[in-house]
Structures are given as C-alpha cells and as structure tokens.
C-alpha cells in the first residue's frame, strides 16, 4: 500500500469529464422511478466531485480509514445521491448497492451518515461540516502528516450562523490546509435562495480566506482553483462554485429551481437518453 496519490500537475480533463458523466449515469439509475431524491443538486456537483476524487484528493480506496488521508467533508447530506455515485466510481461502494438508495433499511439513505466508508461526517443537519473540518485540519497540523481538509457546503448553509463561527476560527488558527468549497446552486428548501447571501466571495475574503470564484461545472476552472488552494501561506482557502442544478440534462437545467425537482415517472428514460446525447454531442 503506497498511500500516496499526489495530484498530477496537469489534470486530464477528458478523463475527469468521463468520470463525471459516469457519476451522472449512476445518479439517474438511483433516482429513476423513486419520484423524489436530490437529482438536480447531484447532477450539479458531479464535475466538482470528479475534480476532487479523481485529481486533487489524496486517499486510498482500499483503505478508506488511512489516518494520513486528505479529508473530504460533505456537509450537505442531501447531496448523498452524488456522493454515493462518486464513492462507487472511486471503488469504495459496490455499484450493485446503489439501487437501494432511499429504500427502507438501506445503508444509502437520502442523507449521508457515517456508516459508509469514505463518509467522514453525518451531513444532514446543516451548518456542522465546516466547524468539524476546522478540527480535522487542526489534527492534521498536529500530526504533521501533510493531510488537507476539503469542506463542501452550500449557499443555503451560508445562512447558518455556525458556518461563520467556523470561518472565523479557521482564520484564527491560520489553517492553510483547509479548503472550503461553497456550492452556490441558487436553491434552498423553499425554492430560490431568497436570503441576502451575496456577495459570497467578498464575505469569505473579509473573513480572511484566500478566495476564488469559479464556474462549478468547468473542470479546467475547478482543477485550477484546487491547484491554487495548495499554497501554504497561512490562510484558509475558499472556492465559490457556481453550479447549475440538473447539469448535463438541458431539460432539467431549464426546469423550475426547486429543492426537489419535479420528474414524472415516465420521464426518466427520455432524460437519460437526453443526457447521453448531450454528453456525446
């Protein structure tokens, strides 16, 4: 076991796009016929998860508990559909298990819990991920193991006060091994984001974070921002990712932005075909 997975200097964007597409395929299979599920949000962050798990993150699929691993903290537990697809693509979950998504008694519920290897925190109660990431980053520094912590959170979570407690804390402790990844997809439970969270990037900058803003569905931009986040300059890093719900399926991209996007039982096959055509077109 080498336990090394240093990111290559140049990302293979074509390979990353293929990974993201594979994840989207898996997600469509998981959501098909369920009548609910967070497919729009999941499709939106597939590109980011690809950049993370197949380029930037240092981990060992055969040893998910390797103490020196980089940590990826998914705070938005309801993005589980994308996370399970990603873990399957990375070889930490069996693809055969994915159809149990959201079913009674499944190990893969609609929100993430810590029972699956590779899931670092239970993500359903929003506003708890970044603060735990601060603790993990402190531990990595104490252990001098070079591990970094990547902490995903959403634009909705910017409305949780605890997010800003953690943001101040990371600057106080000069955690340059911590990267916050803010998924701004513009939706929250009651519909479009209606709280005055903008300008997001400026808020993070004012909290002392080295902040970049990118198209969260642009793999070149994502991998470049992640590469820039490796700087050991004493400042925590933030990447504001603007993502498109339903990304990869034009019909869904245009559909009304809602926490649960409406997909009719008879639509899944057509949408999947549209996704394939869009990717290969």
């Amino acid at each position: 076991m080498t336990h090394t997975n240093h990111p290559p200097t140049e990302p293979d964007l074509k390979a990353l796009a293929e990974r993201a597409h594979n994840m989207r395929r898996l997600m469509m299979r998981m959501a098909s016929g369920k009548g609910e599920g967070y497919i729009a949000q999941g499709l939106a962050i597939a590109d980011f998860l690809s950049a993370m798990y197949f380029h930037e993150l240092r981990y060992d699929p055969a040893d998910p508990h390797w103490p020196g691993r980089d940590r990826f903290v998914l705070s938005t537990g309801h993005y589980s559909i994308a996370f399970y697809a990603c873990l399957a693509e990375a070889g930490m979950l069996q693809v055969e298990e994915l159809p149990t998504y959201g079913l009674n008694g499944s190990r893969l519920p609609m929100s993430t819990f810590e029972n699956v290897p590779g899931i670092e925190v239970c993500g359903g109660s929003l506003g708890q991920g970044l603060g735990q990431s601060v603790g993990m980053a402190l531990a990595a520094r104490l252990d001098r193991n070079g591990a970094r912590v990547f902490s995903e959170l959403s634009d909705g979570e910017l409305q949780e006060g605890s997010t800003w407690e953690a943001a101040m804390s990371a600057t106080t402790f000069k955690l340059d091994n911590l990267v916050a990844l803010i998924d701004c997809n513009g939706i929250q439970a009651d519909g479009a984001v209606h709280v005055a969270i903008e300008p997001v990037a400026e808020k993070w900058r004012s909290f002392g974070w080295d902040t970049r803003e990118v198209d969260g569905n642009d793999l070149a931009a994502l991998t470049a921002a992640l590469a820039a986040s490796r700087e050991p300059d004493g400042a925590p890093k933030a990447i504001v990712m603007r993502t498109v719900p339903g990304k990869g399926i034009p019909t869904l991209e245009k559909r009304e932005r809602a926490h649960f996007v409406r997909v009719g039982n008879d639509e899944w096959d057509d949408l999947t075909a549209e996704m394939e055509a869009h990717y290969h077109g």
């Binding site: 925190v121 239970c122 603790g135 402190l138 104490l142 407690e165 804390s169 106080t172 402790f173």
Partner: protein, 326 residues
C-alpha cells in the same frame, strides 16, 4: 484574599460552604495536564472560558494542543468533534448552560451520533453561580440524557473528578461531565474508586435511604450525620453516572429502607429524581419519597448559598427531609 491557579482568581462559581473541609485547587485542569503528558492524543478546547473552567493548567503544559475558539459554543463542539474524528480525544470546556442550550444539535449529531471521542466538561451546572437564568443550567442532565449514546456524569468532589478526568478517556464515545472548579472540596475517602455506570454507597445507615448525585451526595452525607444526632439513621447512595443509569443498584438500595430522599442540583424533572421514580415504579417498589431538587422554574440572580436556601437544596432542607420525611 484570592488564590491563584494559572492566573485565575478563585471565587466565582465554586461550591460554597466548604467550611473547614480540605480542598484541591483546579483538580480538573491539573489532572488533565498530567494525563496529557501520558496520552499525547489528548487535546483541550474552550470557548473563551479557559480561565473559568480550570483548563489553563492543561494549556500551560501543552500549549500546542490547546485551542480557544472564542465565544462560540457551536464552533467549540464542532471543532472538538473534528479533532476526535481525526484521531484525537477532545476535552472541551465552557459553561454548561451554553453547551447544552446553544450547542445541543452539535452535541447530538456531530458528537454522540458519531460516537466521537469528545469529553465535555461543563462548568457551573445547576446552582453554581449567581448570574441568573442565563448562566444556570438547571436542566442540563435532562437535556443531555435525552441524547442517545451519550454518557452523563455528575462527580461529587475533587477526588472523584480527578478519577473521572482519567476514566472518560477510556469510556467510548461522547461524555458530558458536570465540572467542578476552583477550590473543590475533598469529600470522598482516599479509597473511593469511580466506576462508570455504578452507583456507590458513600455513607451507611438503617432507616432512610438517600439517593444523590454530584456534590449533593456529599451534602446528603453531611445531613445524614446531623440526622443521626437527632436519632434518624440514613444511608447515602451516590449516583455519579446518570447515563447509563444504575437501575439495579438503585433498586437494591431502595429495597433496604422504609422511606427515601432523592436529591440533585438540578430541576426535579428529567434528572435523577425522574430516573429513580421510573426505576422503582417499573420494579413495583413503592416507598414514601421526598425529592430535594429545584422546581420547574427559571431562577433569579443571587449568591449561591442564598439561592440554595431559598429554593430548598441546602443542608437544613436535606436534614428536614431525612428526619421528618417531608
């Protein structure tokens, strides 16, 4: 006349009426500093309450392993959980009122649900300061024992607290401890051994059984001595672990007596009194019982002794409960 431990002026939030009793200064932080030498995976945290939680001896001994997150209890618990999930044992401190009421969801989900190695030493629980309702965690046991997979401990004195500091490092998962700070009395004998989850008789007697937790157990023992002078013999069972609750130990103890007194530095509902009533009812054991605990109320500001007298958890009240059964 202030005494100093790591820069902290003693006085506020300490147990009153220590009288001529022997005491130890800052037993929590002193013991944790020592334990930190033996176990390098231990880290210490506070939310701007280092000075008032006695954790400063740990900071002074292990500055690189000490983190003050500022006035932010949610951040305190999240950070402690993150450190724990990366292999550390996190000892964290603040006032119990702030940890329980402000950071409840974080204790439940980030810590207990994950079986995270977070050891919460919560300062000034119950009536241990005069700052009124904002600072008086009079329902903390009730709240904390409502969380699954969480251990809840209310130590009696400095002797037990020091043992608890060590023991919790080996109790799996998250533990909530009602901390005692400053000049902490030494009430239990040198032969006392804290056993997690086990209630222990700390004073023997014949006709009245007193069941207590925290420093109220020591007060109950003092009251039993006064009662003995008035011809009533009482035994005291000290229940330091509220969760898991030693149901069998309590039932076996209660069976021995004609009547019972239950006492805690906590509201009458949700804590020890409730636990005892549930256990005895389920066992079909009906005994006359007097509860010496706080009413379901918010309380005003005032000196601890004054509050304890006014709201009926002081020594004379316990003596009355034991002697008169009312």
């Amino acid at each position: 006349m202030a005494e100093q431990v790591s820069g902290r002026t003693l006085g506020m939030g300490e147990i009153v009426d220590t009288g001529a009793k022997p005491f130890e200064l800052a037993p929590f932080g002193t013991e944790l500093a020592q334990l930190g030498k033996e176990r390098t995976e231990i880290v210490g945290l506070t939310a701007d309450m280092g000075r008032y939680s006695d954790i400063l001896p740990f900071r002074d001994a292990h500055p690189e392993r000490f983190f003050n997150v500022g006035v932010a209890e949610q951040s305190l618990i999240m950070t402690a959980a993150g450190l724990a999930k990366a292999g550390k044992i996190s000892y964290c401190t603040s006032y119990s009122a702030f940890i329980t009421r402000r950071a409840y969801d974080f204790v439940a989900i980030a810590c207990a649900h994950a079986l995270a190695e977070v050891k919460i030493f919560a300062g000034m629980p119950g009536f241990m300061n005069g700052y009124g309702a904002t600072h008086q965690a009079t329902e903390d046991i009730s709240m904390m024992r409502g969380i699954a997979d969480l251990t809840v401990i209310d130590p009696c004195d400095a002797t037990e607290l020091k043992q608890v500091v060590r023991a919790v490092a080996d109790i799996p998962g998250t533990v909530y401890v009602r901390n005692l700070r400053g000049k902490v009395p030494v009430e239990l004998g040198a032969d006392y051994r804290f056993i997690p989850g086990k209630a222990q008789v700390i004073h023997e007697g014949q006709s009245v059984g007193v069941i207590g937790t925290g420093f109220m157990s020591a007060r109950a023992r003092d009251a039993a001595k006064v009662a003995a002078e008035r011809g009533v013999s009482a035994a005291v069972l000290h229940v330091s672990t509220l969760k898991p609750f030693d149901k069998d130990g309590v039932i076996a103890f209660a069976k021995r007596f004609d009547r019972l007194v239950v006492t805690e530095n906590h509201k009458i509902s949700g804590g020890l009194c409730t636990l005892v009533v549930e256990a005895l009812y389920e066992a079909g054991l009906m005994k006359p019982m007097v509860k010496v605990a706080l009413a379901d109320s918010f309380f005003e500001c005032g000196a601890q002794a004054w509050l304890e007298h006014k709201y009926g958890i002081d020594l004379p009240r316990l003596v009355q409960a034991i002697v008169e059964g009312r």
